[in-house]
C-alpha cells in the first residue's frame, strides 16, 4: 500500500513538475521513454503545439523523404544556447533535443506518421523513432522500426501508394553517424540561414553569435539561384551524410559534401567502387554532359532496394530532384576521362 501511494505521489510530482513543460530528465536520462508524450515536447500533443523552449525551423534545401512533410524543432533547456559553427552543425549542449515529425496531408489536414527524436545525452546523441497511433493522440516507441502503408498525392498531382519505412535505431545511425558518433545533419548554419531563422534564434538567446557573413546554401528549387549551387546543395543534403570521408559510404570514395573540390571525388569520371548492380550498365558516377551515362542519376531514378540511393527512406523517386541533377549534369561541358 505504501509503495502504491509512493508511486502515485511520484506520478503526480512528475505531472506537476512540468506543467506543459519539457521533461528534461527524459532527454538526458538513460532510458527509452515508451511514448512521445513522456518528453513533454508538446503542450497539446494531438495538435502538436510546441512547449516552451522548442524552436521551429526548416531547411532551405531538405532531405527528400518520399514527399513526406516534416515539422522540425530544436529544443534547448532553459538558459542553454547553441554555439554557432560556420561549417558543421550548430553545437547544442547536453540536454538539447531535435524533434522531427514526418507525415502527409490527408484531406487537407497534416497527419503525423512518425516523430524521430535525437537526444543529446552525456554519452552522445541518441536517436529514437516513435510511431503515431491511429487516433493521432500519441506516438509509441519503435526502436526496431516498422513499415506503414501510405497513400498520398505528390506536388505534381501523381498518386502514390507506398510502404513507408520508419527507420530502426541503427538505421538512424547509418545516416547520422560521423566517424562512429551520432551527429545532427540538418542544423548547419548554411541550411538554417534563411527567413530570419538564425536571427530569431539569436534574439531569443538560443544562439551564442551570428556573424554577418554566415553561409547560406542555395534553395534547390529556386530557379533564380545558380544551377550548380542548387544541384550541389541538393546532393549534399541528400547524399553527403554518408558520402563523406567519415560517413557510412566512406569506402566508396565518392564524396558529395559542398566543400569538396577534387573532381574525381565528386564523381566526375569516377568509376564505381562496390556499387554492384547499382552501377547498371554505366561506367562512371558522373559523365559530364551525359546524365543517362551517369550512375548517380541511375541510382536516383530507381526504387529497387539493391540500386536506389539513398538506401533508406526512399520508396519513390524525387522527380524534381532528378530533373535538377539531370539538368546540372547536362550543363557540364562534355569531356573524356583523363589518365
Amino acid at each position: 500500500m505504501k509503495a502504491l501511494l509512493g508511486a502515485v505521489a511520484l506520478f503526480a510530482a512528475a505531472l506537476i513538475g512540468r506543467p506543459g513543460g519539457v521533461n528534461d530528465a527524459a532527454i538526458a536520462g538513460e532510458g527509452y521513454p515508451a511514448r512521445l508524450s513522456e518528453f513533454g515536447f508538446f503542450t497539446d500533443l494531438a495538435a502538436r503545439m510546441p512547449a516552451q523552449g522548442l524552436f521551429r525551423y526548416d531547411l532551405d534545401t531538405p532531405l527528400f523523404s518520399d514527399y513526406a512533410a516534416k515539422e522540425r524543432y530544436i529544443y534547448l533547456p532553459a538558459g542553454a544556447r547553441a554555439k554557432y559553427d560556420p561549417d558543421g552543425p550548430l553545437d547544442l549542449p547536453v540536454g538539447a533535443a531535435l524533434v522531427k515529425t514526418f507525415g502527409y496531408t490527408v484531406d487537407g489536414r497534416f497527419k503525423p506518421l512518425e516523430t524521430r527524436v535525437l537526444l543529446h545525452r552525456a554519452g552522445g546523441w541518441v536517436p529514437i523513432p516513435y510511431v503515431w497511433n491511429a487516433e493521432g493522440s500519441d506516438a509509441d516507441i519503435r526502436r526496431a522500426g516498422t513499415r506503414i502503408p501510405v497513400a498520398f498525392v505528390d506536388p505534381s498531382g501523381e498518386r502514390h501508394a507506398i510502404s513507408y519505412a520508419v527507420p530502426n535505431q541503427n538505421q538512424c545511425k547509418d545516416c547520422h553517424g560521423l566517424a562512429g558518433r551520432v551527429t545532427p545533419i540538418g542544423i548547419k548554419a548554411r541550411y538554417l540561414n534563411h527567413g530570419g531563422q538564425l536571427e530569431k534564434m539569436l534574439a531569443a538567446g538560443m544562439l551564442d553569435r551570428l556573424p554577418p557573413d554566415a553561409p547560406r546554401v542555395a534553395r534547390w528549387d529556386d530557379q533564380a539561384a545558380p544551377l550548380d549551387a542548387r544541384a550541389r546543395a541538393w546532393l549534399e543534403i541528400n547524399c553527403a551524410h554518408c558520402h563523406n570521408p567519415r560517413g557510412a559510404a566512406s569506402n566508396s570514395g565518392l564524396f558529395l559534401d559542398l566543400a569538396r573540390t577534387d573532381p574525381e571525388q565528386r564523381g566526375l569520371f569516377k568509376r564505381p567502387t562496390a556499387a554492384g548492380r547499382g552501377a547498371g550498365t554505366r561506367d562512371f558516377d558522373i559523365v559530364p554532359g551525359v546524365p543517362d551515362a551517369s550512375i548517380l542519376l541511375y541510382r536516383m531514378e530507381s526504387t529497387d532496394p539493391g540500386i536506389a540511393m539513398p538506401e533508406l527512406g526512399r520508396a519513390t523517386v524525387h522527380k524534381e530532384g532528378v530533373a535538377l541533377v539531370r539538368q546540372w549534369i547536362e550543363s557540364m561541358p562534355k569531356s573524356a576521362p583523363g589518365r
Partner: protein
C-alpha cells in the same frame, strides 16, 4: 534477511556483466523481433536465432560491440530477404568483436552481409545465397567486410553474387579459409587490402575464382602481402553476369586466379583446372586514372608449386581466340599482360607463361605475345601476421 538482500543486490549488480542469450524464434513479425534483439543485445550477449525461415522485409543491423549472432545451422536457420523492400544489404554490422555463425542469408536485394569498420569480425559457418542461380539482378557481394582490421572468414559458402561472393575491401589482416564460393562473378576477392591469407578454399563455377585487386581512387590503397595457398580453383566457367559498369565485369569467363595491380602476392600450392581462359592471370590496371601516387603495376608476384590441370581451352579475353590459334589451340596456364616489364618481378616455377608485352593502356592489338619461363628466384621478404586468439577461439 538483510544479508540475503545484500547478496541479491550484489547478484543484481553483477547481472549486466553476465553474457545473456537472447532467443528469437521463427514466426510472425520476425523483422521487428529480430531487429529488437539486435538492438537490445549488450556486449557479451548472444542473439540466438532459432531454426526455421525468417521472412524479412528490411535490412537488419547490429551496432553493439562483442555480440555473437548464432543460428541453428546454415540449412536450418534461414534469413530470407526475398520480400525485402529497403536497405542496401541483408545484415549490416558496424560494431567490433562480432561473431556471426551458423545461419544463412538468402536473396537479399543488395549485399548479403556487410560489415563496415567492424574490427575483429568472425564469419563462421555462414551461407549467403541467391537461390535463383547466377543473375545480374542478384545482389553484389555475399559477405562484405570493408574498412576493418582483423577479419576471419571460415567455412562460409556464397552462391550467386553478381559481383564477388566473398569480398574483403580496404582492410588489413584478413584470413579467408575453408570456404566455398560458387556461381558468383568473382568467387573470392581481396581488394585494396593488406596482409591476407586465402587458404584451403574451393572456388568453382564462378566467372573468376580468386581475385586480388588494387584499384585507384579509393580511400585506402592495397598494401599487398596476399597469400593464395592450397585452394581448389576449378571449373570457373559461369559466363560473366556482372552489370557492365563494374570492374569485375571485365573479368574473362574462365579465369582461375587474377592478380591486378597489387604488390607482394604469392600464389602457391593451389589446384587449378578447368579454367578456360587461364589458371592464373597477372595484369596491370588498364583503365585511365587520375589518382596521383596510384601504382597500376603488379609487383613482386610469385607463382610456384601450383598444380595446373586443363586450361586455356576457351580464352574469353579480347584477342584470346586468335592467340590460342597461333599457339596450337590452347593458351598456357599462366597469362601475363607483360605491362611493367621487369619492374613487376614475376617469379616462381609455374608455367609456361604467355606474356603479351603490352604497354600501360595499350590495346591488345599491340601485343607482342611470347612464351616465357619464370625465373625461380628467391621470394622477396614476406610479412606474416596472426589474428587475435579470441577470434580463433570464436571460430572453433
Amino acid at each position: 534477511m538483510l544479508r540475503f538482500c545484500a547478496l541479491a543486490a550484489v547478484l543484481l549488480a553483477a547481472t549486466p556483466a553476465l553474457a545473456r542469450d537472447i532467443v528469437v524464434e521463427a514466426g510472425p513479425n520476425a523483422q521487428e523481433r529480430l531487429q529488437s534483439a539486435l538492438l537490445d543485445a549488450r556486449p557479451g550477449d548472444t542473439v540466438r536465432i532459432g531454426a526455421g525461415r525468417f521472412e524479412l522485409t528490411d535490412g537488419l543491423s547490429l551496432d553493439v560491440n562483442g555480440v555473437t549472432v548464432r543460428g541453428a545451422g546454415t540449412e536450418r536457420t534461414v534469413l530470407s530477404f526475398k520480400g525485402q523492400l529497403g536497405a542496401g544489404e541483408g545484415l549490416l554490422v558496424t560494431s567490433d568483436d562480432v561473431v556471426l555463425r551458423d545461419f544463412a542469408v538468402e536473396d537479399s536485394k543488395g549485399d548479403g552481409i556487410k560489415s563496415k569498420g567492424a574490427d575483429r569480425i568472425v564469419y563462421k559457418n555462414v551461407r549467403v545465397e541467391w537461390t535463383g542461380g547466377p543473375k545480374a539482378t542478384n545482389g553484389a557481394y555475399g559477405v562484405y567486410p570493408v574498412e576493418s582490421e582483423d577479419v576471419l572468414i571460415d567455412g562460409v559458402t556464397v552462391k550467386g553474387a553478381s559481383d564477388a561472393g566473398i569480398y574483403v575491401g580496404q582492410s588489413n589482416r584478413i584470413v579467408v579459409r575453408n570456404s566455398t564460393a560458387m556461381y558468383n562473378v568473382a568467387g573470392i576477392e581481396i581488394e585494396n587490402s593488406g596482409l591476407a591469407e586465402v587458404t584451403g578454399n574451393l572456388a568453382a563455377h564462378n566467372t573468376g575464382g580468386i581475385l586480388v585487386f588494387d584499384l585507384p581512387a579509393l580511400p585506402k590503397r592495397g598494401a599487398g602481402y596476399v597469400l593464395v595457398k592450397g585452394n581448389r580453383v576449378v571449373d570457373n566457367d559461369t559466363p560473366n553476369f556482372a552489370p557492365p559498369g563494374n570492374t569485375v565485369a571485365t573479368v574473362p569467363t574462365g579465369t582461375g586466379v587474377l592478380v591486378m595491380a597489387e604488390n607482394d602476392v604469392s600464389v602457391t600450392g593451389n589446384e587449378l583446372s578447368g579454367n578456360g581462359t587461364a589458371n592464373i592471370m597477372v595484369v596491370a590496371y588498364r583503365q585511365p586514372f587520375e589518382d596521383k601516387g596510384y601504382d597500376p603495376y603488379p609487383r613482386n608476384i610469385r607463382l610456384a608449386g601450383n598444380k595446373h590441370g586443363r586450361t586455356g581451352f576457351a580464352p574469353a579475353m579480347p584477342g584470346g581466340k586468335e592467340l590460342a590459334a597461333a599457339l596450337g589451340g590452347t593458351l598456357p596456364p599462366v597469362f601475363w599482360d607483360g605491362t611493367g616489364g621487369d619492374k613487376v618481378r614475376l617469379v616462381g616455377d609455374d608455367g609456361p607463361v604467355l606474356a603479351l608485352g603490352l604497354a600501360l593502356g595499350a590495346g591488345i592489338e599491340t601485343a607482342k605475345p611470347q612464351l616465357i619461363k619464370l625465373d625461380n628466384a628467391a621470394p622477396s621478404p614476406w610479412r606474416t601476421f596472426k589474428l587475435p586468439a579470441a577470434m580463433e577461439a570464436a571460430a572453433k
